[in-house]
Amino acid sequence: MTKQWEDNFEALLAWLDPDREQAGVKYEEIRHTLIHIFSWRGRINAEDLADETINRVTRKVLELAPNYNGDPSLYFFGVAKKMVLEIIRREPPAELPESDKLQDLRPAEPNDSENVHECLDQCLSKLTAADRELILLYHQQEKPTIEARKQLARRTGISANNLRVKAHRIRAGLHKCIEECLKQKTAVETD
């Protein structure tokens, strides 16, 4: 990484927030959102596209930041939109045949399902007992219905909307833990 790049990156963080720690949080939030936006558009390489978006903004930040008014994430969004247009002109989103997509649900590769199950077990054990019980109860129903969720909300003593939000946040933490666990397993398997 060159000195120029390091300076630009520091300027980027300072632009996001004068507090470096908060800037780091905002940086991760922006990156996470960009990955989702590209992924929801069907892009296979969503992480690379998000990183390229951030790189483009970082290259311009020294001239951009002093005169920019408003939420910096809007600028990132503008750059991402331009990238999407470039990509659409180059290539359409990849579409897998239906059978290939369904393959992901079947344990065609035992290691893969096994890894997910192991990581899930590991990550669930890191939750508090209350959170673990809540998320397992939330997912226990064979066919989740609004009525079943309302009953669960009554049993746990919180409103249905709060239960929905709480379950989502527990799940978001689980997803993050599982992704990290899967990356470590993949790294070990390829060594």
Partner: protein, 284 residues
């Protein structure tokens, strides 16, 4: 509620790739700039996955799910994790596991009682632990009750209808909150509490409807209740009527909060009138 349902319908259309480019970009814009909206999209995404796994999607939606939604590896991984979680929950139901643990415990207890020498030794240890734990718990409970009583007294004093409405200053952080679903594009800035801040003053529009008084419930991001306050006073500020809630700043930490407002109707019941979401940043 209807507005929320309409929003969730648009989000599902977005996830299934049904929206035209202009509407798609409007949704992406909000995802990028409004944290709460992004969270709503992620929750709707999870519900879409659950509906697919439960086989309750309409045929047309199922086709779009397979052709559009599942075209990216991130989504396919989310589906795999959702499937694994459902399977795990079915195989490890918390209630049944607890009942199994109880029966094992009962059997062990009966055996321990039969083995008297071991039981007597153990029982003294258990009694000692219970006494220590009980004392600690009682102390914690007393301390929590004292703190809550102190907070209630402070809230009552700050929000007495005859008390002063503080003006915004270095020690008073005043903020006007908008209801959860009527937020403008762009998102709200966090409320920043500095060491000088002593009071946080939240100003809320008076809900429509005839209510005798208002209750406010403050919850943090873990959905744990911080306090419940009955009798939020209505004030006139700058010629406009509004509800004003003054809160000691020490109550807050850096977190996301939701203030739920409900009105006491003529039948003596509280009706929900709106939720207000805001983020707090505490600077050291």
């Amino acid at each position: 509620m209807k507005e929320l349902e309409q929003e969730q319908t648009v989000i599902r259309q977005f996830l299934l790739g049904e929206l035209d480019e202009e509407r798609r970009q409007q949704v992406e814009h909000r995802v990028m700039t409004e944290r709460d909206f992004k969270e709503e999209v992620l929750m709707c995404e999870q519900e879409l996955l659950e509906d697919f796994l439960a086989g309750t999607l309409r045929d047309s939606d199922r086709k779009l799910f397979l052709t559009n939604y599942l075209s990216a590896p991130l989504q396919r991984r989310k589906l795999k994790i959702a499937q694994a979680l459902n399977k795990y929950a079915a195989e490890n139901p918390p209630l049944i596991a607890a009942r199994k643990r109880e029966s094992n415990f009962l059997q062990r207890l009966i055996e321990a009682i039969r083995n008297r020498r071991w039981f007597v030794q153990l029982s003294w240890g258990v009694v000692g632990l219970v006494l220590i734990a009980g004392t600690l718990l009682a102390f914690q409970a007393w301390r929590w009750r004292t703190q809550q009583a102190q907070l209630r007294a402070e809230l009552a004093q700050l929000n007495d209808p005859q008390s002063t409405v503080f003006e915004a200053s270095a020690s008073v952080l005043a903020a006007r909150l908008s209801p959860l679903k009527l937020r403008d594009l762009g998102g709200a800035a966090p409320l920043t509490i500095t060491p000088e801040t002593q009071t946080v003053q939240l100003r809320l529009a008076v809900p429509s409807g005839q209510y005798q008084s208002y209750r406010a419930v403050l919850k943090d991001s873990a959905v744990d209740e911080v306090f419940t306050f009955d009798g939020v006073p209505m004030r006139t500020l700058g010629g406009a009527k509004m509800l004003v809630l003054q809160i000691p700043a020490r109550v807050f930490k850096s977190d996301d909060y939701t203030l739920s407002l409900s009105g006491l109707n003529s039948a003596g019941a509280f009706e929900e009138t709106g939720d207000f979401s805001f983020r707090v940043l505490v600077r050291p």
